[in-house]
């Protein structure tokens, strides 16, 4: 039996089989709201109105005709496109315009360069796979349960849309693009290339793309009909070509200073080292810092509280886009917790003071009339920062050097550009001893992709880097849990 679903606010009707899951139907039509938990019913973020009653799309079974109202799209996230400004002499693998992509779990960024390496246009978008979950694990789960092709066409569709956008902005036809260079985390790269991420689902999480490769780009996307596609290799199953791009662009591999590069995206990847030796690790730290699992969590989009100040003993918020606060993004959350620690309202174990307000039986701190931080939000941040800080300590151990000997910290990625170093060190996401050495470097992964497009030797260098960087599997280190537990405290 087939039912009709009338999507009222879009003026659109779709058909669904009896017993179908509403979120699946909406995903199929490309209309689904974001579902950070991947459709398990735990994140409560895919709410839609069904026949006037608000309910979760992922928990709704189609049993008859229904009228659905989708939530208003929550403004486009501000996607960081500015790179870290390194340049290279031009020696591309093929003549023509150059395209460089960084495929993140949450966002995709695209740059169009001319034959001199000058940026003509840049564009970014939220990863269209968002309805399949906020993190790579949910995406892998969906891919392995038979929706691989949908995830692949979804991501290719995103890259196609961005290509059209930048070409239109620059006024050039897409068939004059000669090189397309792509970095991303291993999961995104594999989904983009159509390689089933089976390897990422169980130990030893071995990477599949272990060497750089070149192929006709039109095999992946017909729009790139005259280009070569450059694929940058991965370091491990969870430290990918995007991290290689960061190392390439920051030039940390040829610097004598001991550099800590931290790319906090949906996952947190880190590299510590200098020209002699480098180690890398990854932590599943990001989703909380990007708003997943946080009561009023959201991306850094208009309406998000991005910073919190403390003055006169009270918290004051600033909101992106000067509009009423709709939620809070990672940087705001970190600021707020740093100040709550200063005020003594959160103890070293992360417990909110008994004198806090209570909502639904949970201790909370109000930031505005409608937006508050819950005890559970603080717990989520503790786990994220505990993993990152533990990773830093263990990488330093591996190199046999104390954390205080680190000469500089480079924060890559959109999130890194929003953060206040004082707050980051106050909550212990980064070791306090490194305050004063922290510098944001923008979308370094994207800059790495550009370098690989501009110069064939830079592209070849990615193979050397992958060989040189030693991967550290944190979960297998006997000391990890101790460091993780210690670093969860404030």
């Amino acid at each position: 039996m087939v039912h009709r679903i009338w999507i009222k606010n879009l003026g659109l009707a779709v058909q669904a089989a009896d017993g179908a899951n509403l979120l699946d139907i909406l995903r199929h039509e490309g209309l689904a709201p974001e579902a950070p938990c991947g459709g398990r019913g735990s994140c409560k973020k895919c709410a839609v109105a069904v026949d006037g009653i608000e309910q979760l799309a992922c928990r709704t079974t189609v049993k008859g005709d229904m009228t659905v109202v989708l939530p208003e799209k929550s403004g486009r996230a501000s996607v960081l496109v500015s790179g870290c400004g390194v340049s290279s002499e031009m020696d591309p693998i093929c003549p023509g315009y150059l395209l460089a992509f960084d495929i993140g779990t949450t966002t995709i960024v695209c740059y169009l360069l001319d034959e001199n390496g000058t940026e003509l246009a840049a564009a970014g978008m939220l990863n269209p796979q968002a309805p399949f979950g906020a993190d790579v694990i949910s995406r892998i789960q969906h891919a392995l349960s038979g929706t691989m092709e949908r995830l692949t066409s979804c991501i290719r569709g995103g890259l196609e849309e961005l290509t059209i956008q930048v070409c239109r902005k620059a006024g050039i036809p897409a068939d004059q693009i000669g090189v397309v260079s792509v970095v991303g985390n291993p999961c995104m790269q594999q989904l983009f290339l159509g390689i089933l991420p089976q390897n990422l689902a169980s130990v030893p999480f071995a990477p599949v793309i272990t060497m750089s490769s070149v192929c006709p780009a039109k095999d992946v996307l017909p729009l790139w009909e005259n280009a070569l596609l450059l694929t940058v290799p991965d370091i491990s199953g969870y430290v990918g070509a995007d991290t290689v791009g960061c190392v390439l662009a920051t030039r940390m591999y040829e610097d004598e200073r001991l550099t800590l590069m931290v790319d906090i995206g949906t996952n947190g990847e880190m590299v510590l080292g200098n020209r002699d030796r480098m180690v890398a690790c990854s932590t599943a730290a990001g989703p909380a810092l990007e708003g997943a699992g946080i009561k009023f969590g959201m991306h850094g989009a208009p309406g998000a509280i991005d910073h919190v100040r403390l003055s006169g003993g009270a918290l004051h918020v600033s909101v992106i886009g000067d509009e009423p606060a709709k939620g809070i993004c990672g940087s705001g959350l970190i600021d707020a917790i740093a100040h709550l620690l200063e005020l003594g309202l959160v103890d070293m174990r992360g417990r909110l003071a008994a004198s806090s307000d209570h909502i639904d039986g949970e201790r909370v701190v109000r930031l505005t009339d409608t937006i508050y931080i819950t005890q559970n939000d603080i717990r989520e941040v503790q786990m994220a920062k505990g993993a990152i800080a533990a990773g830093i300590t263990l990488m330093a151990n591996q190199l046999g050097t104390p954390v205080s000997e680190i000469d500089r910290v480079l924060l890559a990625g959109a999130f890194g550009s929003f953060l206040q170093p004082e707050s980051v060190c106050r909550i212990g996401l980064l070791p306090p001893v490194l305050l004063g050495k922290i510098q944001a470097v923008g979308n370094a992964a994207g800059s790495g992709a550009k370098l690989a497009a501009c110069n064939r030797r830079e592209f070849a260098r990615t193979d050397e880097l992958v060989k040189k960087i030693q991967f550290l599997e944190l979960a297998s280190l006997p000391d990890f849990r101790h460091k993780f537990a210690m670093n969860m405290r404030f």
Partner: protein, 210 residues
């Protein structure tokens, strides 16, 4: 113990041992602290970090190590009979959740055999035969865990042991529906309810045995 002061505890334990305190008495004392920690965790005062620390301290005071991937966390009633067999399933190496859960079960006076991580379906089967466990707890953090759990449960069925054990699934790699589909008896998304469920099952098993 309940204040999680590792250095102080180690010194104290050493003194007690010199004074002729038996290992069993020491375990009893530590368990009092572990129970308090469990209660503080339930009330929200303590956090996972504190549970992890309590497990580390417990092991270090007793000088326990994970020998050959199997550690016996028990008061030593009998080497060949245990209440609960626990392990992180094949393909997964995350042990933090498993170890916290083990500590909490122990604090609630249940005997445990810990099979370690990346435990194959065959090892679960062997473990049940060898230790006559009445509950099997399978943990998994990774995406692949649900499938691995299903295979382990099938292996237990094929070995004709399914009727002897109750199977509890936990960890962030699994959720209610998947646990049901995998053929488990129970699923738990948090430590506290998981411990309560194990307790109830053991009581039921005890009643049935007379």
């Amino acid at each position: 113990m309940s204040n999680l002061d590792e250095a102080k505890l180690l010194t104290l334990a050493e003194e007690l041992r010199r004074e002729g305190c038996s290992r069993l008495e020491l375990v009893d004392m530590l368990l009092v602290g572990m129970r308090l920690i469990g209660l503080r965790y339930e009330s929200g005062e303590y956090f996972i970090a504190d549970l992890i620390m309590s497990g580390i301290i417990f092991r270090s005071v007793l000088g326990l190590t994970e020998a050959e991937g199997i550690s016996v966390l028990s008061k030593g009633r009998s080497a060949l009979h245990t209440d609960i067999l626990i392990g992180t399933v094949e393909g997964d190496i995350h042990d933090i959740g498993k170890d916290i859960f083990s500590s909490m079960l122990l604090a609630n006076e249940m005997d445990i055999i810990d099979l370690g991580v990346d435990v194959s379906p065959e090892k679960f089967v062997e473990g049940i035969k060898k230790y006559h466990a009445s509950i099997v707890v399978m943990e998994g953090t990774m995406v692949f865990a649900a499938e691995s759990m299903r295979r382990s449960i099938q292996a237990i069925e094929r070995a004709g042991l399914r009727g002897q054990v109750r199977i509890l699934l936990g960890g962030s790699g699994i959720y209610q529906e998947a646990a049901h589909q995998a053929g488990a008896d129970g699923y738990s998304s948090d430590f506290v309810s998981g411990v309560a469920l194990c307790k109830r099952w053991l009581e039921q098993a005890g009643d049935a045995n007379g």
